[in-house]
């Protein structure tokens, strides 16, 4: 009834000679009792929200969060890009700018599309902006990119997790990056097998990434982690298109991510108690934002009993 593994997706793609985006659209029609037109239009609306957020974050002086600890940096990237002297080249700078812009809008309580989460909302727009420019994608191709990404994301969400509180940042930005890598391969004309390879390599390269938001806010380091998510996706897609392979199959990488997530202490799963959040500056920022009545105990990091029953 549902594609439960990436192996299932690849087998169906081979048997039906259909791209993964098409397989998932057909699954959605069956499960949601909606028409193809409605489903396509809904994804189109998500695409528009993604475009709008990326533009908003990099326009004028940009946006600033209520706490003042993030904002305005997408604009710095845009201005730097315009000088044309970046080290990583305009393509990467475009991905970086759109990733930061989207997550700055999110931190500023603007409207975004969660892909798969709000904290990782900048990763896919970063990837999509680059493949759109490099491959001259039309709107329909961009919508297909999102469907293909969602097919891989749904398998991660059901087989493992996509929440920082249960799996760390590897489950959020790691998943988004892997979804983006696979979708980039499909719109670039790669095979479903290559898409799965790109997915596996992108997720492998972000395994172990912790969720340690300063003051519990989706700002530091979340915004810039979307840069690594977007850039990592593009490099994984290129590796797969060049013929590199992961050795470890995508489905096994997902289960490795799940086990790592389960083994992370609670302090590194979106509690704002460990990692960067527990540094002297992280704690000082939390005090400054929320005043004196804060309870942060860096010792908790070594003191993690199994909190989930």
């Amino acid at each position: 009834m549902m594609y439960e593994t990436i192996a299932d997706l690849l087998a169906a793609a081979a048997a039906q000679q259909q791209p993964i985006s098409e397989l998932i659209i057909e699954q959605e029609i069956k499960l949601s009792h909606s028409s193809r037109e409605i489903i396509w239009a809904t994804m189109g609306k998500n695409l528009e929200v993604m475009h709008e957020a990326a533009i908003k974050g990099a326009s004028g002086a940009g946006v600033t969060s209520a706490t003042g600890i993030s904002g305005g940096e997408a604009v710095l990237l845009k201005k730097y890009r315009e000088k044309g002297q970046s080290l990583s080249g305009d393509t990467m700078l475009l991905a970086m700018q759109n990733a930061v812009a989207t997550n700055e809008v999110n931190a500023a309580m603007g409207i975004i599309c969660a892909t798969p989460t709000a904290g990782s909302a900048g990763t896919l727009p970063g990837v999509l902006s680059v493949v759109t420019e490099r491959l001259h994608l039309q709107r329909d191709d961009q919508i297909r990119f999102l469907f293909c990404a969602s097919a891989f994301g749904m398998i991660v969400a059901n087989q493992a997790m996509i929440a920082g509180a249960t799996g760390g940042c590897q489950a959020e930005v790691g998943s988004a990056s892997a979804m983006g890598a696979a979708a980039a391969v499909e719109v670039a004309g790669g095979t479903p097998e290559q898409a799965a390879q790109a997915f596996a390599m992108a997720m492998s390269n972000l395994l172990g990434l912790v969720c340690d938001p300063v003051a519990g806010l989706v700002e530091v380091p979340c915004i810039k982690r979307n840069v690594v998510g977007a850039v990592n996706a593009l490099t994984a897609a290129d590796m797969a298109l060049a013929g590199l392979t992961s050795q470890i199959p995508a489905d096994e990488v997902i289960l490795a991510m799940k086990r790592i997530g389960q083994n992370l202490p609670a302090s590194l799963r979106e509690t704002g108690l460990g990692g960067l959040a527990a540094t002297p500056t992280g704690i000082a920022l939390k005090m400054k934002i929320f005043g004196q009545d804060v309870s942060i105990h860096p010792d908790d990091e070594n003191n993690d009993s199994a909190r989930e029953s």
């Binding site: 309580m109 969602s150 969400a157």
Partner: protein, 216 residues
């Protein structure tokens, strides 16, 4: 494998006001469930947070998100960040509690939302499982307790007469778990735990049997 995510729009989406899909959009969704199940004027709201929700609700806007849901807003509503003030201006009394105990429903992103007026109370224990998706694992309808397994869709129907078999005929093929029936006096309350979203025609048909139907 749980298959709790069954739509592409659980993954690409929701469109929402930031900053967190689990702690903001998911919190709106749990609040929304409480709003729909209570469906009566609200006098007080008590929100009890556990684990990650208890540690980070302030930073993630979880407070305004839960209250936005309780007021019936959707996650992309521009009024979401002002929901607490809006509710208090309507005379609703609101309390947030950071509970230091482990989540009673076994998930780090747990909120228990209690709505109350002079006639009745309702408590919903929900958890936000990521990307804006939620599970409802316990509901206390004024003393009647249901413990669904978590995943939506769920349907609650109240009726004076016995309508269990009629509901089975409409929804039975789509049951994920057997129907649960609890009784308050002569009132029957039914819980239907479904595999897939019901068809609109099915809901219409069921509402002809009892208007008092809430589809989550």
């Amino acid at each position: 494998m749980t298959n709790r995510y069954r739509s592409v729009f659980d993954i690409i989406g929701p469109i929402m006001i930031g900053p967190s899909s689990s702690h903001t959009a998911g919190a709106v969704a749990i609040g929304h469930v409480a709003n729909r199940l209570f469906h009566a004027p609200i006098k007080t709201v008590r929100v009890r947070y556990f684990e990650s929700f208890a540690q980070t609700h302030r930073g993630h806007g979880t407070d305004y998100a839960v209250i936005a849901g309780v007021l019936g807003f959707d996650p992309a509503d521009r009024r979401v960040p002002n929901a607490v003030d809006l509710a208090r201006r309507q005379g609703i009394e609101i309390t947030f509690i950071e509970d230091q105990h482990p989540s009673p429903i076994g998930h780090p992103n747990t909120a228990a939302i209690t709505l109350e007026n002079a006639e009745k109370y309702l408590t919903v224990w929900g958890c936000s499982v990521g990307g804006g998706a939620i599970e409802i694992r316990k509901i206390d309808f004024n003393g009647l307790i249901f413990e669904p397994q978590g995943s939506l869709p769920l349907i609650y129907v109240e009726a004076e007469q016995e309508i269990g078999q009629a509901l089975d005929q409409i929804f039975g093929a789509n049951y994920r778990l057997p129907r649960v029936t609890l009784m308050r006096g002569r009132h029957h309350i039914y819980q239907l735990d479904l595999l897939d979203k019901p068809f609109p025609e099915q809901l219409e048909q069921a509402r002809r049997i009892s208007q008092d139907l809430i589809s989550l």
